[in-house]
Symmetry: C2
Subunit: 399 residues, 2 copies
């Protein structure tokens, strides 16, 4: 497996485009289309929020067939809490895009992101769709990735190439999301495509596994979105076939996980106001559920995240969050490391020169490891710091 340039069109059989439909202000790109030249195997993971946007409800129903030909995504408006009218808006747009593509509307998956509680400007979007369809090309992956952004600062794409059964094949994808990002739910908008041939049921299982270890193990602010979705489409164009239980399955699963991990890391690094990222790694937990809960509690703690922002070491905050997580451990045996340095042993904070401590926290990526000495399970979470900039961005989002 090797990393290659490209994004959602890196795999054969996919083209994409991104245009400005006037949903966001200032002619920003805000409407994206990814389409498959052949009917493709499709799978998705959705937010587990009880409040779900209209496009989530529609895509959820459609992806059950295991087949899709296009993904239409808009930013600037989440089309959530918009009642029956919002549902009709989303249905209408998927109809409007299906027609020029010559595909049944049931094969159009849709997603929206942006402010909750406002109607989509349907007519403006409709008017933009012919341009969106006309501009599709393999070269326009970055425009699509740009068009799905909200408060994100950077386009986030990644692609890999590998050989399965003698066939060169690819996976590529794009992701958005920089606030309302939380673990244990689908946490962003992402589209991943591949040119392997794979049964929808296997694609679904591998996507769920990969999302669990990557997109669902990150947090910006612990808030769970009503809209977020990870789509995967497989065209089969490469000739590589992924069958359950074979070597190819392991290879593909690994590549898919690596790809989503890269996208998830890009997302956290681009978290609202983030200046650095932190990996919380819990080892020696009694169960993997407890390990994950502990990593999550530390990663979500505003006090830990502000500590990271200030690069002002405060190991007590990390231990307090671990102690509040429900993970079972003996505080007298707790060990903690920041990067290579042991900072807590036998439950007591070790003396640490201020200069050393600051240097440990001033890395672009800080790894904090907690050894609970209670078992052999581990868990990981990736998060970013909580800065004044995060508050500035979110205190004035809707206006």
């Amino acid at each position: 497996m090797r990393w290659i340039r490209g994004g959602v069109t890196a795999a054969e059989g996919f083209i994409a485009s991104g245009v400005s439909a006037g949903i966001k202000r200032g002619r920003k790109l805000d409407l994206a289309l990814v389409s498959a030249q052949e009917p493709s195997a499709a799978a998705a993971v959705f937010t587990s929020n009880r409040v779900q946007a209209a496009p989530v409800l529609i895509s959820k129903a459609r992806v059950r067939s295991g087949l899709a030909r296009a993904v239409l995504i808009n930013s600037g408006c989440a089309n959530c809490m918009t009642g029956a009218a919002g549902y009709r808006d989303a249905m209408r747009l998927s109809r409007v895009v299906a027609q020029p593509l010559g595909i049944p509307e049931s094969q159009v998956l849709i997603a929206s992101t942006g402010i909750i509680g406002r109607r989509l400007p349907v007519q403006r979007i409709e008017r933009a769709i012919p341009r969106l369809v006309a501009q599709r090309s393999r070269a326009h992956h970055a425009e699509a990735a740009q068009a799905i952004l909200t408060t994100d600062l950077h386009v986030k794409e990644a692609a890999v190439e590998l050989v399965i059964g003698g066939h060169r094949c690819r996976l590529g994808g794009m992701i958005k999301g920089s606030g309302m990002i939380a673990p244990s739910m689908a946490t962003m908008l992402s589209v991943v495509t591949t040119d392997v041939a794979i049964a929808p049921v296997l694609l679904r299982r591998l996507l769920r596994n990969a999302v669990g270890q990557t997109c669902n193990a990150i947090s910006v602010d612990g808030d769970m979105s009503t809209n977020d979705t990870v789509f995967a489409l497989a065209s089969g164009c490469s000739g590589a076939i992924v069958r359950p239980g074979r070597l190819g399955e392991r290879q593909f699963a690994h590549a898919l996980t690596m790809l989503l991990q890269r996208l998830a890391e890009l997302l956290v690094a681009d978290g609202e106001g983030a200046s650095r990222i932190m990996e919380v790694h819990v080892t020696g937990a009694k169960t993997s559920r407890q390990a994950q809960a502990c990593a999550r509690q530390v990663a979500l703690s505003p006090l830990v995240k502000t500590m990271l922002a200030g690069a002002d070491p405060n190991v007590g905050r990390v231990a307090a969050a671990a102690g509040a997580s429900g993970a079972v451990f003996d505080p007298q045996r707790l060990e903690m490391f920041i990067g290579p340095r042991r900072v807590v042993a036998g439950g007591a904070a070790l003396p640490l020169g201020k200069a050393v401590a600051r240097r440990l926290l001033r890395q672009p990526k800080v790894v904090v490891r907690l050894e609970l000495h209670a078992g052999s399970s581990e868990g990981r979470m990736l998060t970013c710091d909580l800065t004044e900039e995060y508050v500035r961005i979110n205190a004035r989002y809707s206006t």
Copy 2:
């Protein structure tokens, strides 16, 4: 029941003092003593964090006897994650204070608050204890309340008077805590005194009930402390007797809850960087556990709290947090009110003029009510907004 001036010495039989022992910088008051002239019934609620400071472990064991004569509290250093040495430090200080008071050290309760992972400056504290003991008086309640503060801006005290069985009696208290404040755990340092006569076992039950509805239903940042403790002492000096199952029990329980509610509100209003407070009131939930979980999730959401800071209404964030809480409800029936105004009906956001919306959020106390239409249970949480100031305070706490 009526509110009166005063604090932890409002009830008869208690005196208090606060001095500077040099734990904090700049000669700030940092050592407090509350003492009872007679052996008093005692009860306490402690943090449920797995990582607990030495004074928590010691006070927990001592309060089981149901009897106490003094509470010694220092700020500036939490004496947590300090290993066996920290435990010995705390034992030694309680011995040193017991001696001039002429009481057994087992009747001294202790608490510490401040930075985690540093040793107490025991010798400095010892040197200050004679002054601390000498300065005790009924007039020095505010000095005691001042000495327990950390990043708090204001002294927080309250007192009430009521008549039970023909006897005029009082309850008074002080509280500290403005960061690392979270629900469902003991969340602060507080000492409440009363001059009723009450059995320790009944006092413990009523304190637990009252704390559950008040101190444990507030949040500043969702972080759980390793140290926090609510102590209650009853001297019996007023002649009023509180017996289980009698009218007096209900009167006293009500007064205790009101007192702790007032202290909890003062605490949230003084939350780190807080500019306004918000009550989240969930009605129509299936169970009261779900109601409380829902109120808690909304109150903890950084996106809701930054919205409050910016007074920029975004009902979607509130609904998204409710939907992520695990509470069971039909999103199509969700209703939401900000103050008197309905802002969501039938799951859809109602159009709201920007000026109106901002006015609703620009109150010093904003009440957000969520009607889930799923049952008849309700829950409440009190929180404050998340401001840039919170980040500034917490990015540079240890230095």
